[in-house]
Symmetry: C2
Subunit: 623 residues, 2 copies
């Protein structure tokens, strides 16, 4: 049995009957898969079953055989724990079999506890609440301003996640950019994990908030198919971003648990599941022939040749400035886009904004949305670069963590790292970012020391998959390398060496300059020090480190403008952990909370200046 209805058609009795049945099927399947798994969220799925039944039958435009079709709508389950519903929907769309659906949450199944892009019809991983909506805003922004295609972006939210500030960052930007192609559906089932939500069924609270944040609220009964249909039609048609605020019942359709507490995140035991399926009219295998969009592709101008900026050796250039210049050069690639957290004049992404205003997006001071927007752009195949102060990416750490699970390809540029920033003080100093970013799965972490290597690495970032982070420095330091030299990710540079190096000084970014000065001092004392620019903090250049280990007798000084844990030194340790004789590592890092002062004063106070590096080398040689 299969029925196709279209969004444009009049709602007929037959449609209503079909969608009623489909809503029941989605509930039954949510129960079946979670009971088979022995865990999962059937009740949070059941509350939204009617919403999804109407959406897929009459409003969603999606070619299930071709999930990469550029004209497809997007549907993002911000309430990722409603994965049983998501997978039941996939079954009803004919995308997966009933049999596969029942592999839910089992080892080896792509139908994991929360949706991830291991499934071709899933754009992003969700399950950390409050993230799907902001990412959907990013996708919609791409639709309106980059792709310029009429696809619609739908996102299903739970009411518990509306307490997350990120939801409001997202709606604010949906309003600001007037994203008429965006519709959020709030499944207000009144019950959270451990009891009633903050506002239960006070839909007026949500409605006022949505309106105040620049979106159009549409309040409905989330189990009235006609109301849902009208609301979704209005959602697609409106020139404004819309939010359907649906009053629903958790566990809807099974009287034993409907609207009852203590049923969050619990699979029904088999006997209960049987009774529920019976009450819901039994197992069905309806298939919806979901409307396909008119195929379309964004018409992007052809990409031109990238001509990176070139700096003279010895010229003083801040790597953040080189980042901005290189980003402008990358603009020749028409899929490169940029976004910033209202500090583009500090990160230098404003250079890109000036050159390519149509491909630059201001997120104001909302770092979670900044990263979410980049992830949304990645979903649409763009090459996003997001920038803010390195310290403030910590605001979006959960988004970055989840972006890795989402297999997103995003590039983050964090400026003003470390005590080197000087007078502004510790609130503005990233001193834990290398540790945090290295720990992101599959991440790339770069920390260049001069203008030309920065430019080369920005070029590399464009091609790199996954989460790619570059740390840039506030102050201007001498250019060390010739323009045009290669700086592959995973590489390093031996900046100074001799046939009789007694110690290796390893730095990156600003501390590389301090290492070079320390090597000068040591040379005057007759000590030959190798200096390594470990610009690729992850992946790290194991071969060069291994050679230095052999050549120096295993005497390393690692200097970093970062707290001692988990940064550059940890990268060196981890790289050589299984060597027959791992290096001894003296570590110059920032200990204690810094204060204000000049960069020089603060680097000296932190023990990462040239003087301290030289002392550490001497101590190592004398011990």
């Amino acid at each position: 049995m299969g029925v196709m209805a279209t969004a444009t058609g009049e709602l007929t009795q037959k449609d209503l009957e079909f969608m009623t049945e489909l809503g029941k099927q989605l509930r039954v399947d949510s129960i079946r898969s979670s009971t088979a798994a022995g865990s999962g969220h059937p009740t949070s799925s059941m509350s939204a079953a009617d919403l999804m039944a109407v959406l897929m039958t009459r409003h969603l435009q999606y070619d299930w055989d071709n999930p990469k079709q550029a004209a497809n709508d997007h549907l993002i389950f911000s309430k990722g724990h409603a994965s049983p519903l998501c997978y039941a929907l996939f079954k009803a769309a004919g995308a997966i079999t009933d049999e596969e659906m029942l592999t839910f949450r089992k080892f080896g199944s792509r139908l994991q506890g929360h949706p991830t892009p291991a499934i071709p019809w899933v754009d992003v991983a969700t399950g950390s609440l409050g993230q799907g909506l902001p990412i959907a805003v990013g996708v919609a922004l791409a639709g309106k301003r980059l792709d310029k295609l009429p696809y619609h972006v739908w996102t299903l939210c739970g009411d518990s996640e509306l307490a997350e500030g990120s939801i409001w960052e997202g709606l604010d930007k949906a309003g600001h950019y007037e994203l008429g192609n965006f519709t959020a559906i709030f499944d207000v089932n009144r019950l959270g994990q451990r009891g009633p939500t903050e506002y239960e069924w006070h839909l007026d609270v949500y409605s006022r908030r949505v309106e105040a944040f620049g979106c159009e609220p549409i309040v409905i009964d989330g189990h009235d198919l006609g109301e849902i249909d009208s609301a979704l039609a209005r959602g697609r048609a409106s020139a404004h971003p819309t939010v359907v605020i649906a009053k629903t019942k958790k566990g809807s359709g099974f009287s034993e648990i409907e609207n009852k507490e203590d049923w969050h995140g619990k699979a029904l035991p088999e006997d209960m599941a049987e009774r529920a399926i019976k009450e819901l009219g039994g197992v069905r295998h309806l298939t919806v022939s979901i409307a396909k969009p008119e195929p379309a592709e964004p018409s992007l101008p052809a990409t031109a040749v990238v001509k990176l900026p070139a700096y003279e050796k010895g010229e003083k250039v801040a790597t953040r400035k080189a980042y901005g210049d290189a980003l402008v050069a990358l603009g020749a690639i028409t899929r490169v886009v940029a976004t910033d957290g209202e500090v583009s004049n500090s990160t230098y992404s404003q250079e890109f904004q000036k050159a390519y205003p149509d491909r630059f997006f201001e997120m104001f001071i909302a770092e979670q949305q900044l990263v979410a927007t980049a992830v949304g752009f990645s979903v649409r195949g763009y090459i996003p670069f997001a920038s803010t102060f390195a310290a403030f990416f910590s605001r979006a750490y959960d988004f970055i963590r989840m972006a890795a699970v989402s297999q997103a390809n995003i590039r983050l540029a964090g400026s003003h790292a470390g005590v080197e920033i000087g007078q502004d003080g510790p609130s503005q100093m990233a001193l834990e970012d290398l540790a945090a970013m290295r720990a992101i799965e599959g991440s790339t972490v770069l920390y260049p020391s001069d203008g030309n290597s920065t430019a080369a690495l920005v070029r590399e970032m464009a091609e790199r998959q996954g989460i790619v982070y570059m740390r840039t420095t506030r102050g201007a330091y001498p250019v060390l390398y010739d323009a045009g030299e290669a700086f592959p990710i995973g590489g390093s540079r031996v900046v100074r060496q001799s046939d009789s190096d007694q110690v290796a000084l390893i730095g990156a970014g600003v501390t590389l300059h301090n290492c070079l000065a320390a090597a000068e001092t040591l040379a005057k004392e007759g000590v030959n020090a190798r200096v390594i620019d470990l610009y690729s903090v992850k992946p790290v250049d194991v071969e060069t480190l291994r050679k230095a280990l052999a050549d120096t007798g295993g005497r390393f000084v690692v200097a970093e403008d970062h707290y001692p844990e988990g940064g550059l030194a940890a990268a060196v340790h981890e790289a050589l952990a299984l060597e027959p004789s791992p290096p001894r590592v003296a570590h110059c890092a920032v200990r204690g909370v810094p204060t204000s002062g000049t960069p020089e004063e603060l680097m000296d106070a932190a023990g990462i200046s040239a003087g301290h590096i030289a002392t550490a080398a001497r101590n190592l040689l004398n011990s």
Copy 2:
């Protein structure tokens, strides 16, 4: 010249004249200090000068000689970059000299680029925007529900930071808890760092949002002293949380830059500063005799004896359950309070809620506010424990980073860490938390493996200063230790050893159990393995590791339910970095994004099961 006015008095012409002069002094001093420093934010200070002049003259109740007086109001500069204004206010309060004020941003001065508690009248460090307000909400919540004292909490916000979702998490909770003792002052000066703000002077936008989030908006001209006075009086008097939304001019009072772009975060050059001071009527040294509150102390019941839970050896207990049980026991200490992000039935903080409902605070799913509330409680001298899934503390990482700068004493308990959680999948798995938390300055990171050590460590957490993080495990595992044994922070436990250990297996939390199983396997093969419970990940027990290094010939296997970077293995490397011969470390850690499955399947797939640990040990012995 000094004038004292009181909040209760009628506003006289003399008051107005004084406050006009004071407002000019605050502007002049903001210019003088920043020009002397050569950096800083005079224009963002000038916009709020009149607001602060009226606040301190007629509304703030504060004993400047006794900042620890429990009845003092709180004033938190959420817009921390307005530090010149903050310090000018301190001068006008007679708390610092003009001379000290001019040390602003200089090395060695406590008057840093952004305020920190290095200054006795500063509660928390600000400068990462959007944090002061949420923390003020936490302080106000303590005032209303814990201290039950009539002090008022004031927080000054910039308009740019209103784009941060955390602001709305905070106002939501101010509304939810009906914090009539809370007043935020929005200094809407229309201009952000790189141009106009999102809503410029559309005060109605902010007003609607504030009202929708449950607070009382009071819209005023922020340079009309009478309007300011009425608004602040209403703020203190209202039974509701209030937000004064003040239209102001950036650079107010100096015609050359007032309300002009491109003057954000720039000190005036000396010649301009001279003209500005002249236009503002010259340098003044007014002192305000700020009203002191009636001294008062919260009346807390006496603390009783803490009787920790005790578990039988071999009994299966989840460490998250032991956390909850131990927290209940700690409740005997009347300053212990708890807060949770709507997952208290998973983290087991609900046990505390049941036992001490008046000292438990639900933050719903708003992790930034969760941590901010804990910081606010710390400001008031409480001993806060905040809990959520370990993965979701990443949502509040910037708040945790700043809490360290704030010298806050907060305890964070993150449950459901690692692949061990099983079916829920990667979105719910903390796999980078050890790296991220270790990198927080001065932090303590704990990861116990059994019920009794968990209980002992929860007890230790209560006394510990700084950011203290405990990672707990979802599943139940056998109790390893007798109840009542000591588990000092910075310690470890050698769980298994012999006189001829050939390798050390180092684990924590769930992997300790896997290490023990691996040691059993190896023993059957004639290999003696030492097993170390490295429950104190930071600080780490260097002595025990050093002894293992000597005894095993430097053969270590470190197993952790965490990504490979920056976690337990890095802690071991860093601890032994300067040993004459550092250990060789085989590392069993989670590589690649995990999926769903049983805990056993996932630990095996990740390579951290007993079998993999034994294999790693064998390989180490054979290489």
